[in-house]
């Protein structure tokens, strides 16, 4: 039931067709991207219902903002930019609710892609390999946009420690995602 990995040029073609009013192109985009973005949201949201709402919000916002996509730029950064916006809205709507720590139970319910999507799965694997104490500050800052002050409060560490851990995670991710055989 999983969508095949789609290369960016295919996504671009579909997006252009969708901007031209082709409903079929939207359906194909949904089929290609929905599991991917669901996994993206699921990493950070415990309840399945919440994740499904976020995915639905994302596609509604993609529809409303479809004119802001400028071909032939890659589609995924645009989609994930909107996803970041949706996450931020959800966070604001949730107010001061504590950060959900047990996210993976939703992740398990979402089918993984049949073949690795070169970007998302590599990043996911690299993130999984990181120690939790460096991964959490990185995710909170770079994916969800929390300030380091807020992260420090949430995790009970100093601001400097939050920055340091996030920076270490960035370095480790860069190393892990470097093409094979390429040195620093």
């Amino acid at each position: 039931m999983t969508a095949p990995p789609a290369d960016e040029s295919r996504l671009t073609q579909l997006m252009v067709a969708y901007q031209g009013g082709d409903a079929g192109a939207f359906e194909q985009l949904y089929a290609i991207l929905s599991d991917e973005v669901r996994r993206h949201f699921a990493r950070n949201h415990r309840e399945r219902r919440g994740v499904n709402d976020l995915v639905q919000d994302l596609f509604l916002e993609i529809h409303r903002s479809r004119r802001s996509y400028a071909p032939p730029l890659p589609v995924r950064p645009w989609v994930y930019g909107i996803a970041h916006n949706i996450s931020a809205r959800a966070r604001r709507a949730a107010g001061q609710q504590p950060w959900p720590s047990g996210a993976p139970d939703v992740l398990a319910e979402i089918p993984a892609p049949a073949e690795p999507l070169s970007d998302s799965l590599d990043i996911e694997q690299a993130l999984t390999a990181l120690p939790a104490n460096t991964r959490d500050p990185w995710l909170l800052h770079h994916v969800f946009g929390f300030s380091f002050d807020s992260i420090a409060r949430r995790l009970g560490i100093t601001v400097m420690a939050a920055k340091l851990r996030s920076s270490r995670a960035t370095r480790a991710l860069k190393l892990a995602l470097q093409p094979k055989g390429k040195s620093r």
Partner: protein
Amino acid sequence: MNEARIPSLLRDAISRDLEPVRPLASPALRALALLPVGVLLLVAFPAFWSWQHHVARLPSPAWVLSAVETLLSLLVLGACFREAVPGRSLSTRAIACVLGVSGLVFVWVNLTTRSPAGVSEALLLQWFGECITTALTYSIPALIAPAWLVSRALPGRPALTGALCGLGTGLMADAGMRIICRDGDYVHVLVAHGGAILILVALGALSACAIEVIKARRLRRVRAGGVS
């Protein structure tokens, strides 16, 4: 295709208005589209003001520097439009660069062409108010055009995007304002003219956040099954 998996609510919302759309023009082109607004604030505003109040305008070299400030304002607005597009947000370094260059050019343009008028303290305060009020009167309507252009995209950091929009408009208005201003006192320039720009920055940030809240509410209504 996984067509059946699309929730019916989403499918209905999409099919309600699936008309073809034209992609937004590039940020640079959209900024260039605001050139008439810049020219209006650079030429028409000082001309109208000096005709109405019978005051002399600055000589031509000052106009050249004002034109530089107008060009800078278009660059800032271009950065703002880019920031508003999902996935194309500016890096911290780029934002710092835009803010730094804006501040430096504002100070350079304003402080090199005029000498202090040496007015009394009471008049100084009055002129503060006059300059701030005049700049805001002419630039707040001008803020509408870039704010509308920003609202057509989907800024991930609405406050920052709106602030850049306000900064661009503020610089645009200041380019005309400095031509008719009678006081070249450094404090006056920094507090009155710089203050007007800062007020526009704040207004831009607030309006972008308000637009974002309205958009989020609309989205919630759509999800709840309301109208699109």
